[in-house]
């Protein structure tokens, strides 16, 4: 537990354009070898590299390039943890970092517990006594947060599905174990084909869960933010500023954006899907009418709204109507075109945060990003890094469960004896149990005694 190889995203949430994935442990270099293809003439694989050197190449998973990256090799003991350490620097933002993390986890690293790098550093004598208390607090606070996030998530559908999977696997294990521990009871034996069918069903179920976990609802979808405002207030320009490149068609003609445009941007490390809506106004033609209808739908799904106003124009009845209409939505009021003479007057009593920007120059965009991060992290929108990390945990555990179940199936097909079948099956059940925080032995015995009439 204390000396396997661990990995985690080491950079703070979404600060900066780069992310660092750190690996530590005896297998760190071996894991790096399996995850990283060095590029260029005379390049060497990580385990052959000298200590404290940096290498360029690609993070590769199943033959597919995940990201371009720099990989730093630091051999023990001159490292943060005094173990072999590898740091992979990749593109910032959760998506890239998460995919690199997934790659190293798939190649043999274990997701680090909160504070585990620091803990190892301390245990290996790398950091001194004065820091111990801080470490303990760190482990504590991160865990509390993680637990809270986990509970929220586990209260939902995921936990139902995981529990169902675990129940099925445990039941199969109970059959096997009952036969081992109670040979003299007349327990109707499961046929080989029954056991295999149940386990194959389990694997299919894991695959399905892994698929959803892999796509990761939050990651796939991000946090949805709708950009609204009356035509030509500068919604598309704002989107372009947030994305950092020209994507939406921008013109001075109202109603240019005829369809909704959704783009994912990395806002302080959080995946935010910005949906540029067609202007909310009385439509002039059929196409526009459709655009408006879609905009309304988009608004229903959005977790928050960026409401854009033209600072150079007085509030129109349309603006007022929108302000009233979305009073109960999470929103940020964005006052665009502040380079022009101000003629906009907001009614009093608006509680939403207000940010001034100029989409032409980019002025105010950074403060807007801060405002978005603050809004998202106030906890009222269910998303964020923690849940993403929890997903990695689930994924890690499910992958281990799947591998062990496949070994179980192999053992069954090769007609191995029951105690060998039980060994891998138990590893699988334990791994699934980790996700929902359940241990196996007591539940297993409960199940055996409730299902089989034991009592010679």
């Amino acid at each position: 537990m204390l000396d396997d190889t661990i990995a985690a995203i080491a950079t703070p949430l979404g600060e900066g354009g780069l992310a660092v994935i750190r690996l530590s442990g005896a297998e760190a270099l071996a894991v790096a070898d399996r995850s990283f293809a060095p590029a260029g003439e005379g390049s060497v694989k990580p385990s052959a590299a000298a200590t404290h050197t940096i290498h360029f190449g690609h993070v590769v998973r199943d033959g597919q390039t995940v990201d371009e990256a720099l990989l730093a090799v630091m051999r023990a003991p001159r490292t943060f943890t005094r173990e072999d350490v590898v740091e992979i620097t990749c593109h910032g933002g959760i998506l890239a970092a998460k995919m690199v993390l997934d790659t190293v986890l798939a190649n043999g690293a274990r997701l680090a517990e909160p504070g585990e790098f620091t803990r190892r550093a301390f245990l290996n004598g790398r950091i001194d006594l004065a820091q111990a208390e801080a470490v303990a607090d760190l482990i504590h606070s991160r865990t509390e947060l993680a637990l809270r996030a986990a509970n929220e998530q586990l209260a939902g559908k995921l936990s139902q599905r995981i529990n169902k999977l675990r129940d099925e696997m445990l039941e199969t294990l109970a059959h096997v174990e009952a036969h081992i521990d109670f040979p003299e009871e007349d327990i109707a034996p499961d046929t080989l084909s029954q056991l295999i069918a149940r386990l194959e069903h389990g694997v299919a179920f894991m695959d399905e869960l892994l698929r959803t976990a892999h796509e990761g609802q939050i990651l796939r979808r991000g946090i949805r933010a709708a950009i609204i405002g009356r035509p030509n207030a500068g919604k598309s320009s704002l989107l372009n500023q947030l994305l950092g490149h020209d994507r939406a068609i921008v013109s001075a003609i109202p109603g240019t954006t005829r369809d909704t445009i959704a783009e994912t941007a990395n806002i302080r490390g959080l995946p935010v899907v910005f949906i540029d809506t067609a202007g909310l106004r009385e439509a002039g033609d059929e196409v526009e009418l459709e655009g408006v209808r879609r905009s309304r739908e988009t608004l229903q799904q959005a977790e928050f709204i960026l409401h854009v106003f033209d600072a150079a124009e007085p509030l129109t009845p349309g603006d007022e109507q929108h302000l009233a209409e979305f009073a109960d939505k999470k929103r940020i009021l964005v006052r665009n075109k502040i380079d022009l003479p101000a003629r906009l007057q907001f009614p009093s009593g608006l509680e939403a945060p207000l940010v001034d920007v100029c989409c032409l120059t980019g002025q105010g965009i950074e403060p807007l990003k801060d405002a978005i991060k603050e809004l998202v992290w106030s906890g009222e929108i269910k998303a964020g890094m923690l849940q993403v990390m929890i997903n990695s945990r689930h994924q890690d555990a499910l992958n281990r469960a799947r591998a062990a179940t496949l070994l179980t199936l192999e053992a069954l097909r090769e007609n191995k004896t029951l105690e060998l079948v039980a060994l891998d099956l138990r590893i699988a059940v334990n791994a699934v149990g980790e996700i929902v925080g359940q241990t196996t032995t007591d539940d297993l015995l409960d199940l055996i005694f409730s299902q089989f009439c034991i009592g010679k």
Binding site: L123, V135, H140, D181, P183, E419, L420, L445, G455, K456
Partner: protein, 619 residues
Amino acid sequence: MGCQTLLLTINADTVGQMSCNPAIGGLAKGHLTREIDALGGEMARTTDLTGLQFRMLNRKKGPAVWAPRAQCDKKAYQFRMKWVCERQPNLDLRQAQCSRLLHKDGRVFGVETTLEVEYHGKTVIMTTGTFLKGLIHIGQNQQSGGRSGEAAALGVSASLIEIGLELGRLKTGTPPRLLRRSIDFSKTEAQPGDDPIPYFSYWRDELFHVEHSDLDLGGKTAQPTTAGKFHVEHRVGYPPGSILERLSGQLPCYITHTTAETARIIRSNLHKSPLYSGTIQGIGPRYCPSIEDKIVRFSHKEEHQIFLEPEGISTDEIYVNGFSTSLPFDVQIELVKTIVGCENAEILRPAYAIEYDYCFPTQLYPSLETKVCRNLYLAGQINGSSGYEEAAAQGLMAGMNAARRVRDLEPVVLKRNQAYIGVLIDDLVTKGTTEPYRMFTSRAEYRLLLRQDNADTRLCKLGYEIGLLPKRHYLLFEAKQKAVDTEIQRLEETRCGSQTLAHLLRRPGVGYSDISSTDSSLSDDVILQVENAIKYAGYIARQETEVARMKNLEDKQIPPGFDYADVPSLRIEARQKLIKIRPATLGQASRISGVSPADIGILSVWLKRGSANIPSPAG
């Protein structure tokens, strides 16, 4: 170990008397017995000499889960145990009933008996079985008693409470005993013993070549033999002085079953069962339910399997395995007649349920010493366990550790990857139990390492070093181990075509005798260990990797006086549990329910902080 020891028992004739079925072994329990043997304990040897039927269970499964089981002659077993105690140097066997513990300043220094005699000692071990405030139930009839026909121990519970121990109540039960001649065995299926006989003891040659007992079990005194000492293949007949020798073979047990009539009678009399009327408060074991429990809980089963097992060769009492009940005697008489083959059966002793006091085992250190009272050790059913083997294992460890205390030595604590005994005690003192705790192989996470064939490899060295295993046994073990190691090496190195012999042996269905080059001088025990080590090699390596992964945690000691209140950031539940259980190692702490990996992380940091001699920052 050389300590002057006094053994007090309520009745000297009942030392080693088996209250329930006189059977030793079975799954996990057989493993425990082999471990006790490897540590120098007596149970395996006495079983071998007093068994009337021997079987190796689970032969169809892999050898890791094979388990020896023996049906013993009840009286022969207990009288041999008594004789062993009488002959044991430094041990005084005395008939007396302990009424209270003598203690001062949190230390025990002796016991007082009901005759108001005080015995003083440096350490005291309590093994109370079902006698602590034992209450026997047969229907609505309740009688104080520790076992059928024996008085309960009434004074000691109060003394334990006064010391500061918390007691709970458990329940167990036993079936009726029938008269052999009233049973029609032709309607049942005979279950013979195994041939060759799977003896329990690792020192088998001694069973055959050393005079064991002056006890005349059947008029035929054991003849000292001088025949070749270690030639297993020349072993003929049965151990001198054994029950088997007297029988010239084994006795069968019989398998039969209940009928629809059994279920009908139970259903119509359920209200008379103290279990269902609520009279019994104690919690019974789920793995050994009463017949009324089985009928109610598994109503879809039309018949339940029953084993008819002889209690001995000098008695016609038959144990009705699987038929434990607390229904009234008149219902029992009716009930046994519904079992196939028992239509005219006569009950010699009625079935009963018994409730008794036990001490929550989380109040013990892994050495089995109580936390509240120094030098006081508890073992067996008082710790919430069930079964002779579980009790014997604890008795052995408690005795060992009490003796080591007297000598000012550190206690011996077996690890979970080392022995079922380690699993047993760790489970009890770490998790506690709310039903009588029985060992199952599924409780052991390293099942493939803890096999019945290799208990000697795991434990003999320890047994010898602490002074329990005699030197002659240890030398035999060393010779055997050397033979095993040499043969494994030979198989790994010898090629047959393109493959090693070990490689061939690893194939499913291939046994040692199937390979082209064997060593015919090897005993069956050696061959079995060689086969297992080679066939399981991949799996064993995986389990050993897992053990190594946990080693840091298991080895990390937590000082006895460690102050959990001092550690910031522990969750409240974890802190409370840690303060209560006071685990000896981080590994033990990690197994406490309610202690999370994060708590273990914090603890490990704090322990390091405590042990590191880094000067603390200014102030």
